[in-house]
């Protein structure tokens, strides 16, 4: 496996429905599960599958993504040879919003020429899963297929493809003649010249493409079946470490059915919620069915039900914020919510 498989993560995707959470960041850098960013899942899957060279293709607003990934050290990808590569898409106004856009790859063809890995796996950046790609590679090699597309067992294509690196290079080089703009085009073309196979994945996998999906998938983490499929000791999801102290539960706090990251100070009540790193929850505050992102401050006696607070939101004393399970109330990054504001 060591030098056999190249990882390619397409991080150019943007979903309009997630706009409120994507004003400052790319989808790949969307916080998830209290301490992760969405991209941590596929990236960790790759590393845990023995992939030692990963190329990430982001587009626009990649500051938070770059800050998160750094040198790749937390994924053990700060290597002398191979490691983590970051290829921001040069044509900013290119409208190719498709997974595995050949236009984006073409701008960095040299990277593919230089890579020694015989096979490449191309994935999207926004699927929550913990998958071992080793059996997939074995399956692909044995099947003799040119292109393997991963499908979820419920039939949905997962926008993940395995090909020989040489074929990928050929597809990129001939994109103008063939008219193929991305991997999906190849797979969907009824007249394609390649043998295409489907690999069925039966584990937990959710693609985050809307606020509703983000919200329900987050709260589903509280279900131990889901939890156990995503957080596996031998296949850890790796992320940027933050040196936060353990979370402190103070007098008067009540916490039930919750996932809580480090560095929090909890004085109030938390039920059925996901609390990220470094969140402060004041006395008498009640947090129900919420996703609270990093470093939010919720002052005393607030009441929040079905709310998503983006990073660094301050909710002032006595504020009431409510959404519904179908339509959670979303508060944008770095804003302030006061008791007298019109919500």
């Amino acid at each position: 496996m060591k030098r056999k498989l190249l990882g390619v993560i397409d991080a150019t995707t943007y979903h309009d429905d997630l706009e409120d959470l994507l004003t400052h960041r790319s989808l790949a850098a969307l916080p998830f599960a209290g301490r992760y960013r969405i991209i941590d899942f596929v990236l960790s899957n790759m590393v845990n599958s023995g992939i030692r060279s990963v190329a990430i293709f982001p587009k626009m607003m990649y500051r938070s993504l770059m800050d998160h990934l750094g040198s790749g050290k937390n994924w053990d990808l700060n290597r002398k040879r191979d490691g983590l590569f970051f290829f921001p898409t040069p044509a900013v106004d290119s409208d190719s919003n498709k997974i595995g856009s050949f236009e984006n790859f073409a701008a960095n063809l040299d990277f593919f020429y230089r890579s020694s890995q015989e096979y490449s796996i191309i994935t999207n950046c926004y699927t929550i899963l913990n998958m071992d790609f080793k059996p997939l590679l074995d399956w692909h090699i044995h099947s003799g297929c040119d292109i393997t597309e991963i499908h979820h067992e419920n039939g949905t294509p997962m926008e993940m493809y395995l090909v020989k690196t040489s074929l990928l290079i050929k597809l990129i080089e001939t994109r103008n003649e063939t008219g193929y703009t991305c991997m999906k085009d190849v797979v969907l073309d009824p007249d394609h010249q390649h043998s295409i196979c489907r690999y069925e994945y039966s584990g937990y996998a959710v693609m985050i493409d809307s606020i509703q999906k983000y919200y329900s998938t987050s709260l589903n983490l509280l279900n131990s079946d889901v939890w156990n499929q995503l957080f596996i000791k031998e296949q850890p999801i790796l992320t940027k470490v933050k040196d936060e102290p353990p979370t402190r539960y103070l007098k008067g706090s009540t916490v039930q059915n919750a996932m809580i990251a480090n560095g929090c100070l909890i004085n109030g009540t938390v039920e059925n919620s996901i609390i990220s790193r470094g969140v402060k929850i004041g006395k008498g505050a009640v947090i129900k069915n919420c996703i609270i992102m990093q470093k939010c401050v919720i002052e005393d006696n607030c009441y929040l039900d079905s709310v998503i607070l983006d990073k660094d939101v301050k909710v002032e004393e006595g504020t009431i914020l409510t959404g519904t399970s179908r339509d959670p109330f979303v508060v944008r990054k770095g804003t302030k919510q006061g008791a007298l504001m019109n919500t």
Binding site: G34, F231, P246, Y249, L250, Q256
Partner: protein, 381 residues
């Protein structure tokens, strides 16, 4: 090697025998503390936060875990091209293997390490204490006083003063007398085992001490008294704040419980003086619908289905349904079964507590859970 103004030497070879089975396989500085740290994180983080980027760590007793924990020092931002952290174990010379026989001999045998940085000052630290301290301020004080040696002192309760090395000073805080564990202390200022030496003085006196066959090669017992006898300028640097020697099971337990007390001066949440440690990178803690958490400190990777009351839980601990953990410290990856009751105890790393176990002391002693105890031989069960 570049010249360094100040190099730190961290004595981390201590056995900590009063911590009993906790230090059977690891040196005292590697003992877990505070839900995610090891004791040595405190002096190393203090160095990093004080701008000291060159630290020699002297190891001797059970160094395996300590060595791998320190690694190249990246957790404390001490992986540097020039300087950084260097682990310094005892070594063999042509004639013999020289173990570190005392704190002074440990530094003496590494004078070559220090020489390569041509330091002006050497900061000597111990890896046994929990505290946050700005060594840079202490160095400024040392320079201002034109001292040969500056010793950091902390006020201890008068009743306990006879357990410590006590310093008597004049009004200018110049040390006039040092008494190791005096029966009738004249002062309650105790040495914290933190020294700043001007390099030339350190070198001269260590070399002199090494030639003295009657010396026990200890800073407190030999070097400091000799310096005082020879009228060198030794100054006291009074430290205010939290400082605790976690040398016994009871004091280790107390120091952990201190973290649950609002009055405690040791603030782990201060972003301006972070305590760094090797992060285990585990998922957030999961608190089940049945769980009850009261005034506790809980780290990532824990799964809690029982009741946690005034306790400190390290990473990766799981607590089963119906279990009650009260005033206890549960170290990394311990597995607590269902309907277990634990009160006033320390449960070491990786220990598995079977369903229905009750661990409670009948006097006020703190119980250190051991494998032998769990095989049913101990009266506490």
């Amino acid at each position: 090697m570049g010249k360094k103004k100040c190099v730190a030497m961290l004595l981390a070879g201590g056995k900590g025998s009063r911590l009993n089975s906790l230090t059977k396989d690891l040196a005292k500085p590697a003992v877990p503390f505070g839900g995610k740290y090891r004791i040595i994180d405190f002096p190393l983080s203090n160095c990093a936060n004080s701008g000291i980027d060159t630290v020699g760590v002297l190891t001797q007793y059970q160094p395996l875990l300590l060595n791998s924990y320190i690694g190249i020092g990246s957790a404390w931002d001490l992986d540097r091209k020039d300087g950084g952290v260097t682990v310094l174990p005892p070594y063999a010379e042509t004639s013999e293997v020289k173990w570190y026989t005392g704190t002074a001999s440990a530094i003496y045998q590494n004078l070559n390490y220090l020489k390569q940085y041509q330091p002006e000052y050497v900061l000597i630290l111990s890896g046994d204490h929990i505290y946050k301290m700005n060594y840079e301020s202490m160095l400024e004080y040392h320079i201002e006083k034109r001292a040969d040696v500056t010793i950091s002192l902390i006020e201890v309760p008068w009743a306990e003063a006879s357990r410590f090395g006590i310093m008597n000073t004049n009004e200018d805080l110049r040390i006039t007398e040092f008494e190791e564990k005096p029966a009738e202390p004249k002062n309650n200022l105790a040495s914290m085992g933190i020294y700043i030496f001007s390099w030339s003085v350190l070198k001269e006196y260590l070399e002199m001490d090494a030639r003295n066959s009657k010396s026990s090669h200890d800073f407190g017992k030999d070097i400091i008294p000799t310096l005082l006898d020879e009228n060198k300028k030794l100054y006291a640097y009074p430290f205010k704040g939290y400082w605790k020697d976690v040398g016994t099971v009871k004091s280790l337990w107390e120091a952990n419980m201190d973290l649950l007390n609002d009055e405690c001066d040791l603030d782990l949440f201060d972003h301006d003086w972070r305590i760094y440690s090797v992060n285990p990178n585990q998922p957030p803690q999961y608190i089940s619908p049945e769980a009850i958490i009261k005034e506790s400190l809980i780290n990532e990777g824990c799964t809690i289905e029982g009741e946690i009351d005034n306790s400190v839980l390290f990473q990766g601990v799981s607590v089963g349904k119906g279990s009650i953990i009260k005033e206890s410290v549960i170290m990394p990856d311990a597995v607590i079964g269902e309907n277990v009751k634990i009160e006033k105890a320390i449960v070491p790393s990786d220990v598995i507590i079977p369903d229905g176990t009750v661990i409670r002391s009948f006097d006020d002693e703190i119980i250190l859970v051991t494998e032998e105890m769990l095989s049913g031989l101990h009266p506490a069960l």
